[in-house]
């Protein structure tokens, strides 16, 4: 449908279409609020809405049970919910943007080696400097994600293969396997990093405090602002480089801003949550189905959808293997890979 160049709509669309999109955005926002509430209430200990409310707002008092609830809500549920929303928005917007910039419906920040770059950097950081706190290695993850993302993105946009879905997927795969082996090499010689790695590697929004969440959110906010400024240009770039140039788009500048935005979004989310693949790919396709190919609508939809998907996966993960938990990243992969396979099967991706 939207992956072919012929079906570009007029910018803006009709008033009717516009109203429908605004309503859709509102519906998504309501769903997100509901999921947020559920995320605060559901878990190893289920809380009633009144208890959640109390835990959020009440001042400390002497009641033992209420103090406990307050502790659960404030130190466990709130951070992981906030992180799921923030990271979900970042991954959703990042995925939609990367598909726009590469004109490649298969593009996903997780498939681009961003994850493996971050893993490698985290392990190296732990092995070399003995980091123990996520706040310390978050910066390494960020750096690794950025470098790997730029390398894969660059490799797959050289020459004629640029825009071929297969080239991008394979360049990502090549870098991923290479870095995974290097990561193992480091992890096998250093037990502390092996232990940290296996938890970080599953992709989870749990167990990170606000000391990590605030800086990550700051990066994501910058990424989102950059992303928003570049949306009109993405629409024009999708008409082809020549047309876009003719319409006055500074292609080099717009691409650079786009790559910086994608790296900030994906890198920051990966640094905080660990590798979570497929989410950007999934929500970008759903968003395109809902809004059509106008990126000014598609990207906000993808952001909200990303947050909803990550939150719901996190909530489901708390419920399915009780008393343990299934990491959100694992659930997203179990959901995303069949989705991806279905897209392949329906012939959404053409071998260019």
């Amino acid at each position: 449908m939207a992956t072919t160049a012929v079906e570009r709509p007029l910018p803006g669309g009709t008033t009717e279409a516009r109203r429908r999109r605004v309503v859709g955005l509102g519906v998504l926002a309501v769903i997100l609020v509901a999921a947020t509430a559920a995320s605060l209430a559901v878990g190893a200990r289920a809380l009633s809405p009144a208890e959640v409310w109390h835990g959020l707002l009440a001042a400390p008092d002497s009641d033992q049970r209420l103090t406990e609830i307050r502790l659960i809500v404030r130190t466990v549920r709130v951070p992981r919910t906030v992180l799921a929303v923030v990271a979900g928005i970042a991954l959703g917007v990042g995925g939609a943007l990367i598909q726009g910039y590469t004109r490649n419906p298969i593009a996903d920040t997780g498939l681009l080696g961003v994850n493996s770059g971050a893993s490698f950097a985290v392990v190296s950081g732990i092995a070399l400097f003995g980091f123990t706190n996520p706040f310390q290695y978050v910066w390494f993850a960020f750096l690794g994600a950025a470098v790997a993302g730029v390398v894969v993105f660059g490799l797959s946009s050289i020459g004629r293969g640029a825009g071929n879905p297969l080239t991008l997927a394979l360049a990502g795969q090549g870098v991923t396997v290479f870095l995974a082996a290097m990561t193992t090499a480091v992890a096998l010689t250093d037990k502390a990093s092996l232990n940290a790695l296996r938890f970080w590697n599953a992709g989870s929004v749990a167990g990170v405090g606000f000391d990590v969440i605030w800086p990550v959110t700051a990066f994501i906010a910058i990424g989102l602002v950059l992303a928003l400024t570049t949306l009109p240009a993405v629409n024009l770039l999708n008409l082809g480089d020549d047309v876009a140039r003719g319409l006055g788009v500074n292609i080099a500048l717009s691409r650079t801003v786009g790559i910086v935005a994608i790296t900030l979004l994906a890198g920051a989310a990966t640094a905080a949550c660990g590798p979570i693949a497929f989410i950007g790919l999934m929500v970008a396709h759903v968003a395109r189905y809902l809004t059509g190919p106008d990126y000014r609508w598609l990207v906000p939809y993808a952001g909200l959808l990303g947050a909803v998907v990550l939150l719901v996966c996190d909530i489901v993960g708390r419920l399915v293997v009780r008393p343990g938990e299934l990491d959100a990243g694992v659930l997203v992969a179990l959901l995303g890979a069949p989705f991806f396979a279905a897209l392949v099967w329906r012939g959404k991706f053409k071998n260019a």
């Binding site: 394979l170 096998l188 010689t189 296996r198 497929f278 396979a341």
Partner: protein, 362 residues
Amino acid sequence: MKRNGPGAKVNGADARPSLTPGVRLGRVSFVWRPWTAGVTLLLAAAAFLLFCLSIGVGDFPIGLPRVVATILGGGDRVDQFVIMDLRMPRALAGLVVGVALGVSGALTQSLARNPLASPDILGITSGAGAVAVFLVTVSGGTAAAVVNSVGLSAAALAGGLGTGLLVYFLAWRRGIDGFRLILIGISVSAVMQAITTWLLVTADIRDVARAQAWLVGSLDNRSWDEVRVAFWGTLVLLVAVLCVAFQFKPMHFGDEVAAGLGVRYSMVRAVLLLCAVLLAGVAVSAAGPVPFVALVAPQVAMRLARCPTPPLAASGMVGALLLIGSDLVARTALPVSLPVGVVTAAIGGPFLVYLLVRANRR
């Protein structure tokens, strides 16, 4: 004959029929390429030499002539003990796994008509890995008891086979298209990796180290029992491939040509694919999912032997050379002894990128 440069083949589709006259012996016919045959023989000799060298290198170094003499049945008792009991299983495992991966890669690349279709990318190795990690990390429970009774190798083999079949059926849609096969393979591979990751998270840290070393591909601590299974398995599969491959000339000419040649074509193709998956499974069961050998070996063999498509025998030999060589490097040249898979990934990752860049330059 107009020979296309290797670069022209990178997307695989335009392999042209050779104009070299064929040789016919009864029902068997093949094209006699003196260069290819010569290169294959040279590669075999090099592989044997490296094999002996690898046996000789270690804490107790043994010279090449003594190694060869001992393998052929001579040598004193110390040499015999060190070589036949201690070092032979590892070296032989390297040889067998290398050949199996090389041939498996050559088959999948030929069948998908895409140089990037190797067992690692099609998810076969990650499926085998997931099952093996399950075995290493989960103890207790009926499932674990069943898996334990069949053993790590058999379980990994079953995992690889199951994943291979899954990918094949998921990619089937009025025939198999190489492009679809690869993308489905990547996604199935991701699911298997997610499962593996989850198993590692829930496991005990000591098991994790064991599983992790196994997951990257390693030849450490092979016993004769493991090697024997892999050796005979590979041998039987190679004979099967040899028997079928002769009947499969249209392999490289595209679906239309093959369809015109009748129903047998898809049957033979399925058998060859099955052999490729089983070869990869045997290799993984013996050494873990050693990355990239199956991808790199056929491409290198193709360039050396100057064939339009990956040559089976030469691919196997290059695979053996790659694996034994990498193991030698992993054991001796690096400051810490690492699993062989780390070295093959260090070679293979850049090679994959080189293939892509080269394909795009056309």
